[in-house]
């Protein structure tokens, strides 16, 4: 076993063995290690972003708003206000004299222009430092404009993405309970932790509809303010995505008694199990629901299985590495790869918890690398050590795979392929197959070498006297 690249991180990297599993996680990222994590603001922004009829105003200098402009593939069936990027674009004088006045004016201007059903105001690092009273400004504008104007306490440095999830859930919880629920039929659910990437939530809604279950609120994919306001009228919260919306489910359970179930819509087992869980929950109320669910799953699988067989033939025995934001997705991916005859030999996440990693250790094979909050140096070393055929991650992981001559599947929020549901399993298999079986790997230098020899250093020779001067910086 190789020694850890960063000694300080050695307890965050484990290889599954016979001894009891233990890993360090949920710590601050190591300075200088180039963590793949983002910040508190990012956590809040990704969760709330898909609420399509709300105004999302980032209070801070321009960067935080511009890097999150229309980056998620979170689709809306109606308004698309979420796809615009709004900022107070704070300047030096605002930092010195405070940004409250600018925030107030920006809010009024944007609300008048776009007539949103609510406004979320995101706090950034700088706001946390200069001490703008976000709450007071939001309260004032809410009073004047007659819509909820909700501060999101997402100062970037106040923790990691998880704290951002919590701040987002707290913001949404201000809306929950303020809408009319009398006309909500039963059985009904809220979908939490699905962001409608590439239209995925519509796939899940279709399954639920076929089972006879009403969806009250999408939280937050294709989300609407009015739906979130009446979410407490649903019978059940279905919670996907380990970190992002669990806090909201717990708050709703405490206050409104709404029960919740953790689900995943990725892969055959988890997708089926999610639907059966819903059916079991409502069985007493609707005795036929289980039959309808079985029928649905049977229909979908009958269409899916034959299509997977061809892929499986080509992919059998290949190896995969997985690095994702939340660990929940990794559980499903391990099972997905097994259906394709493939092994996951490295798995990690940015924000997994102790329980998440224990569960990963239970379902992975011996020798699998399990890692928390890793970085490009470690990832490239793991990929080489395990000699994988495909790496599943996000945009920041893609060039690591490609530079190593390894296939890649984008399973992050920028993806344009729906990967949820039974159809998503097909899309996933097709994507994995397309990348793993590409002819290009036969020519990439790590596997094929180079007939022309090595590439000499590309740095320009110094213009000047020889030999070059040795001058201390």
């Amino acid at each position: 076993m190789e020694p850890a690249i960063f000694e300080q991180r050695s307890s965050q990297i484990q290889r599954k063995g016979k001894e009891p599993f233990s890993i360090a996680c949920n710590t601050s990222s190591l300075a200088g290690a180039v963590s793949q994590r983002a910040c508190v603001f990012c956590g809040s922004r990704v969760v709330l972003y898909p609420i399509a009829d709300a105004l999302h105003l980032v209070h801070g200098p321009i960067g935080c708003a511009v890097y999150t402009w229309d980056i998620r593939g979170a689709l809306s069936s109606g308004p698309e206000l979420h796809r615009l990027s709004f900022s107070t674009d704070l300047r030096e004088k605002d930092v010195i004299f405070g940004g409250e006045k600018k925030l107030y004016q920006a809010l009024v201007e944007l609300i008048d222009r776009h007539q949103p059903n609510a406004a979320f105001v995101y706090s950034t690092c700088i706001v946390g430092l200069i001490g703008d009273d976000l709450k007071a400004v939001c309260r004032k504008v809410a009073g004047e404009k007659g819509i909820p104007v909700i501060p999101v306490q997402s100062e970037g440095f106040k923790g990691n993405k998880r704290e951002g999830y919590l701040a987002a859930c707290q913001a949404m919880f201000e809306l929950v309970g303020t809408g009319e629920t009398a006309d909500i039929p039963s059985p009904s659910v809220n979908i939490l932790g699905d962001f409608n990437l590439a239209g995925e939530i519509w796939i899940i809604q279709d399954y639920l509809r076929r089972m006879g279950v009403e969806v009250v609120a999408n939280i937050t994919g294709d989300g609407r303010v009015a739906d979130v306001r009446r979410a407490h009228g649903a019978d059940l919260n279905l919670v996907q995505c380990s970190g992002a919306t669990m806090d909201l489910a717990r708050m709703m359970e405490d206050t409104y008694g709404t029960p919740w179930k953790r689900v995943s819509y990725f892969g055959i087992e988890d997708m089926s199990e999610a639907l059966y869980d819903v059916a079991r929950f409502f069985e007493a109320k609707d005795p036929r629901i289980m039959d309808r669910t079985r029928e649905l799953v049977r229909e979908e699988l009958a269409a899916l299985y034959p299509k997977l067989q061809g892929f499986r033939r080509d992919l059998q025995g290949r190896k995969a590495a997985v690095y994702v934001g939340g660990a929940f997705k990794a559980f499903s991916l391990i099972k997905c790869f097994r259906h394709l005859g493939m092994d996951v030999v490295m798995v990690g996440s940015q924000t997994g918890t102790q329980e998440d990693y224990q569960e990963l250790a239970e379902i992975t094979d011996e020798g699998t690398i399990i890692v928390d909050d890793t970085n490009p140096l470690e990832l490239s070393a793991f990929i080489k050590e395990k000699d994988v055929d495909i790496f599943v991650g996000g945009v920041k992981e893609r060039p690591i795979a490609f530079k190593l001559g390894v296939g890649f599947c984008d399973h992050n929020h920028e993806r344009k392929e729906a990967l949820e549901g039974f159809v998503g399993m097909y899309n996933f298999a097709r994507e994995v197959h397309a990348t793993v079986t590409s002819p290009v790997w036969r020519f990439t230098p790590r596997r094929a070498g180079s007939p022309l020899g090595a590439i000499a250093s590309g740095a320009g020779a110094p213009c000047g006297p020889e030999p070059a001067l040795e001058v201390a910086p």
Partner: protein
Amino acid sequence: MKNVEPFVSTTNACKLCTPLGAAVAFKGLEGCVPFLHGSQGCATYMRRYVISHFREPMDIASSSLGEKDAVYGGQANLMQGILNVITRYQARAVGIATTCLTETIGDDVPTILHEFRRDYLPGCSGPAPALIHVSTPSYGGSHMEGFHAAVRAMTEQLADPLAPRHEGINVFCGFVSPEDIRHLYDVFADFGLCAAILPDYSETLDAPALEDYQNIPGGGTSLDQVRNMPGARASIEFGRTIQGGRTAGTVLREMSGVRLISPGLPIGLRESDALFTALEELAQAGTPRRYVLERGQLLDAMVDGHKYVAGKKAVVYGEEDLVVGLVSFLSEIGIKPVLAASGGQSGRLSAAVAAVCTDLGEPPLVRDGVDFYDIVAEADALQPDLIVGNSKGYRELARARNIPLVRVGFPVHDRFGAQRILHLGYRGALRLYDEIVNALIAKKQDDSDVGYGYI
């Protein structure tokens, strides 16, 4: 001319934040790892943004400050972070840019680096890595201020004032593409001139497939090249809108009297002529045949295509110096630039645009410090036939109004091969010309019921 009310809010910004520009510039120094002193998110967001354009690894280290660091200062994290980068990446240089967070809490980075050099560097093996520091609060400007400040910081902090005189030429190329940098090297080499181009990310952000993963990709302006800059015969620094400010070129002029030549970004015929004329003088030789030929081919194309483009109206947006170059070129070919817009706010855009439009008709409406909300509003009044700019004008401007978009500059997030877009020189102009003409032809063809096979 429509006058849009100044808005307080910004919608769909036409600029990026200051440290992003610094990180890209640092990527052009050999063996250098860009490092942001701030919270973890800044580095990660910028990495994602840059990777999506170049399709290359873009490691930006961070001091990953947390809440208590914001209260007590980020010194410990900054030191540990730099040490990790030096030892694990084997970095030969670390380019440290501050962020809003650390500028506001008032971390004294030069002093921290001084202590780091004293306490840690003696323990590191090998030659002492260069630590370069630049102050880049996001609220202090756009990514271009960050880019130029990082280039200036590299010269200020690395150049040796006592470097002996040599025949080389320093080139400060601005934020151009890797292909542009490669082309510049060729041009200078063909003139027999030795160029030190800073920054040179032509390989670090457009790297070849190799047998092994490169923690720091090869290539970049070497540290020796930068050290020797004060001994050069001249510096050439592109960009009309950075003239008058304190730049890498003025730093070297002050440091050791290096002659500074400041042409515009060489986009289009006349701005390229200015560069080649300067090179002829420096080389004491005529322009090599290859480029005379390219110039002739450009002119030939401009004649062949002039009727496709005649009288068409264009909206141009992006970084200020890019906009100036594009406006210059569009005016030359008979397209009427109707709006020149930028999120940057140097205060020099208007004059620079007017200067390149002399004798070629009315200069366009110039709007600096604007966002895409403003640009779209202006465009609606101006009814352009063509848009030239980065990807960010696609949805609200080009697609919504069914106007072709020719993609240039940064970021290009919705097309392939952005690192290989050539903007500069006669060849860059020719390539751009082909794209513009073809975009207009395609539009005419697509909009027609006829299905023209000849156009």
